[in-house]
Symmetry: C2
Subunit: 316 residues, 2 copies
């Protein structure tokens, strides 16, 4: 008798949606996409020891596996709707799966995401989630719309997740606040929706600000200047590291899942106020310029050399 782990997950991820005509339990799910909406789809894998520290609580792995995908939807200004989950684990550890499902479910409930399909397999611990969402036709934010003269913004604070990893590596300890940013990133869904019609380009900061802003610049065929003194860092990060380290973590650290976006300079006040109303900080951190490079500038306008341009898989 198969030990039906996907049933364990389904029982806990209990968001019901009328647009799921047929959910888990057949060969595939049947889903109803409303007229006028585009389907927004992304997939991301988390591998143990690569995307989360070995020993991360299963609840946190479940949360994060969904969060990193919802963050991609947020960057497109999409409303999350459904997820499919492929969980690979070394053995049929029901307690692990229950805790994993609880963390996944907690975030799914917060955003009304129904689990539409799943697969459990035996192998080294890894999770792949596919997230599906809606955006009205033509209203998605992309990486490609930044224009010279646009102001550059970021939500929340940067560098916390990378700071948590550095604390863990250097001291073996978990800073509570920083570690929460690493383990339980909050996808900026509400901010992404609020920026629809306002932002000209948007990306989520998963690989680090410099790397991800570089993607906006490449897609939009522009350059960018970051004023490093404007970079928002949390009190917890500032209390843990000197100013230069905070700056480097904010520029290059991955896994923050904030939104980096561009918008006409004149809309700065509107943006800050709009996001403040949904409890989301927004900071202007620079500008879009002609060219193709991303440059980080100090208070005097001099370019700063950055050692490492973000989190990159398969880096040499």
């Amino acid at each position: 008798m198969e030990f039906d782990l996907i049933e364990v997950i389904r029982a806990r991820v209990d968001v019901a949606r009328g647009d799921v005509a047929l959910g888990i339990g057949d060969d595939a799910a049947l889903l109803n996409v409303p007229a006028g909406q585009q389907l927004v789809a992304c997939t991301d894998t988390l591998v143990a020891g690569v995307h989360f520290p070995v020993g991360t609580a299963p609840e946190d792995i479940g949360w994060k596996a969904l969060a990193v995908n919802l963050s991609d939807l947020a960057a497109m200004s999409a409303q999350p709707v459904w997820a499919l989950l492929a969980l690979t684990l070394p053995d049929a550890d029901a307690a692990f799966v229950e805790c994993f499902a609880e963390g996944f479910a907690e975030l799914a409930r917060a955003h009304g995401v129904a689990l539409a399909g799943g697969d459990t397999t035996q192998g080294p611990l890894a999770v792949t989630v596919t997230a599906l969402g809606f955006v009205p036709h033509g209203l998605a934010l992309t990486r490609g719309g930044a224009r010279v003269g646009d102001a550059l913004f970021v939500t929340g604070t940067l560098g916390d997740a990378a700071g948590a990893l550095r604390v863990l590596r250097e001291s073996g300890e978990n800073g509570v606040e920083l570690r929460a940013r690493l383990d339980r990133p909050e996808p900026r869904i509400a901010a992404g929706l609020a920026l629809r019609g306002i932002a000209s380009a948007c990306i989520d900061v998963s690989d680090g600000l410099l790397a991800d802003l570089g993607h906006i610049c490449a897609s939009s065929k522009v350059g960018a200047e970051i004023e490093v003194d404007a970079l928002p860092v949390s009190p917890a990060l500032a209390a843990s590291f000197d100013a230069k380290t905070c700056r480097d973590l904010a520029l290059s650290g991955g896994d923050d899942y904030e939104l980096c976006f561009t918008a006409p300079s004149a809309r700065e006040k509107e943006i800050v106020e709009t996001l403040a109303r949904i409890g989301c900080g927004a900071t202007r951190i620079g500008r879009i310029v002609a060219g193709s490079r991303v440059r980080a500038l100090d208070a005097s306008g001099s370019e700063i050399e950055i050692a490492r341009a973000g989190w990159e898989h398969f880096s040499p």
Copy 2:
């Protein structure tokens, strides 16, 4: 500079579709679902050494990762449209990825499937594909529609993939024909579409006939009787094993990706002729009965004991 493996894959999986408004290269894909169609979604993971033998050619892994998902769409009578690919591999082996992408692309081209999204990560070799397709509202085949008195059918032949594994395990050799069934399963898309409006229930045979027919019975709240002498086996399988072993492999072997379906008994001739026109064999192998058990019967009508009920992950 990131070694952009997903670009290597995108360049090779070159199916273009007008309904992909924005493909690989942003945070998520933007996809257009036509009015009147339901979205059909499934996800399946292949892990090295679990779902394919270590040493399987990367082309075959790429083909199979898509095939097992298209097979799930076939069982729903869905037309495949898009796929998302999450590839985890131990190192940035461009040659491996190119070959993998070629195999994936070969099958994607055959069915007009566009690669809409992807993720490459570092870790133990595994592939998760999410396949998306369309079915007109209300016309999907499910596991739940079998009725007492229905005839039971299977496409093609059964047991070849499990036979290939047994040959490999017992002799270390690869029987060419059997191994092709294991490495390059042909998802029965055309058959699934042809069975729309004809079949009452359908599932793909991934875990073995007994196990998968058991899913139809559970969903439909019926039992089933299989006439083992009617089970279709290939000449290659018959040449490799004695009759009893062939029978056991056909009953319990997984990974064949044929369709097992039920339909009113009176439609047998129409079904066989309809599928023959698209080059797909179909064999009546039994019937749906009252109850909840799946029984395998010999020519005298006596029940046969089966040692192992199919391929099951995490079996004790």
